[in-house]
Amino acid sequence: MEDCIQTIMDYGLRSQGVGERLLPRTDFTLCQQFTLIGSGMIWNIYFGICALIAGFFLATTLALGKTARSAWLRKPAEWFIFLFRGSPLFIQFFFAYFLFLSLKSVIPFFSPLTSAWLGALVVLFFNTSAYTAEIFYGALQSIPKGDTEAADAYGLQGWSRFRRVIWPTMLRLAWPAYTNEAIFLFHATTLVFFSGFPAKQQKGDALYYASYFADKTFNPFVPYPILAMYFIILTLIVISIFGAVNARLNRHLPQERRAKIKFRPQIIR
């Protein structure tokens, strides 16, 4: 028990570069595996939350762009969405990393982009924006006609029409699918350190440490289930937060018309 507290003190923030420099090499204890993999989860949560929040705004813009009548707005949005939804995230990571590398050699200003904390975040941000935009676009298409007609009848126009009628309805319709996208984004964050982005000084995410242990011990039956446990907990937290938002978005509706959130992730991207 004493040992374990010491291990947590040493490795609890290892993924951020705080604490013991060397990773354990021999005599791996369960406690070490739990602590290090948990410490790696900080990265997954960081990537997930930042990409989700930033992606939300870009996705709204893109979805509106895709519904726009002018081809100058519509085409770029359509291409952006197709580009990021049509190709594997893994290849996107690789391509972006080498793109950033060559940018860096031309203009040194871009050097932070080659490290995972910013570069991978940018890729995840664009990727989740594209997927979310498609969801929002679908929701915009299925806004009941009565709602927009009512807004017109009240004389609402432009921004206030969007802000008070279109946007809330869009969110309400899109929310169950958006929840799955969020869960799925957290799963996708595990790819970061397996594509080009280097884990400097072995500051990696949860899967990075899990595979580190699996490589060292030749025993996949301990680290991967630990990782799975962490991710199931994370998924449950995400579902409960999004469920609360869903309840708020639907609070004006009678019970049985409310959209239920179903856990239905769309797997790999």
């Binding site: 021999t26 791996f28 197709f82 580009l83 049509g86 190709s87 594997p88 995230l89 893994f90 290849i91 996107q92 690789f94 391509f95 080498f98 793109l99 590398l101 060559s102 799963h187 996708a188 595990t190 790819l191 397996f194 899967l207 899990a210 595979s211 699996a214 060292k216 011990t217 030749f218 025993n219 996949p220 039956f221 991967y224 990782l227 799975a228 991710f231 199931i232 998924t235 856990f263 992730p265 769309q266 797997i267 790999i268 991207r269």
Partner: protein
């Protein structure tokens, strides 16, 4: 040259994995519907487990786990008089006769074995997703159809094979085509499984030839190789989309679904 072969590897993987995963999925879905409780639990947990956990964790896990599992079984069978324990600290030790592939076998066997492990892993993971789709499709078949079959005195087995299975495909197709897209996009993960696929070759060939010197024969071309891969996947996705749309249009023709109804109206 390796780069061109590796495109073949990816296509071969898709060609083998798709039917095998479908078979696994079919097995899983029928197990989940079974009225024998352990079989049903097995089917349901197979579907449930794969969905809650990041997929690449599975890819990394299954390759080692399958490898060790196979070696363990062969070890039990070939060397019954082995006394030492298999897990010696951090090492996994089996007798040499049980090594897979055998230490003295040629290189291509090693490569094929790695590839087969990758195919099996993909099939297990995608089988679970397919099982999920097929399970949903089986439930979407109108219940009246099954009751009618029962009324005609068919046994459960007959009902399943003669009524449920032929009708479920229309309901399963949207899910399965989505799965096919996902499968295409999952192929670069082969790289993680140690198979020399297109990602591996792009890294190798695009990388600077002699990294120790500053003036390379050619500069860092990896960016362009990966750009090419990006375009390759985009085209592949687009083509599949078109083909699947066509299949869907043909299958919905004359069906009593919203899609079929829309087709009828468009023609009229």
């Amino acid at each position: 040259m390796g780069l061109y072969w590796s495109f073949g590897t990816v296509l071969l993987l898709l060609a083998i994995t798709a039917p095998v995963a479908l078979a696994f999925g079919f097995g899983g879905a029928s197990a989940a519907r079974s009225n024998i409780a352990p079989l049903r639990w097995f089917g349901k947990s197979y579907i449930a487990i794969v969905r809650g956990i990041p997929d690449i964790a599975f890819f990394l896990f299954f390759v080692i786990a399958l490898d060790q599992g196979l070696e363990y079984l062969r070890h039990k069978w070939k060397c019954p008089d082995w006394t030492d324990s298999i897990r010696q600290g951090n090492d996994f030790v089996v007798c040499t006769a049980a090594k897979l592939p055998l230490g003295n076998s040629p290189q291509w066997i090693h490569e094929t074995y790695g590839f087969m492990l990758a195919v099996l892993t993909f099939s297990i993971v995608f089988g679970a997703f397919a099982a999920n789709v097929l399970f949903g499709a089986m439930r979407a078949v109108p219940h009246g159809q099954l009751e009618t079959a029962e009324a005609y005195g068919m046994t459960r087995r007959q009902t399943f094979w003669r009524v449920l299975v032929p009708q479920m495909w229309v309901f399963a197709l949207p899910g399965l085509s989505n799965l096919w897209m996902v499968l295409i996009k999952a192929t670069p993960l082969l790289f993680l499984l140690g198979v020399e696929d297109i990602v591996y070759w792009s890294r190798e060939l695009g990388g600077t030839k002699t990294p120790r010197f500053t003036d390379y024969p050619h500069a860092d071309w990896r960016m362009w190789y990966f750009f090419f891969l990006l375009v390759f996947y985009l085209c592949f996705t687009k083509v599949s989309e078109l083909v699947l749309d066509r299949i869907m249009a043909r299958l919905t023709h004359g069906q009593a679904t919203a899609g079929g109804e829309a087709q009828r109206k468009a023609a009229a």
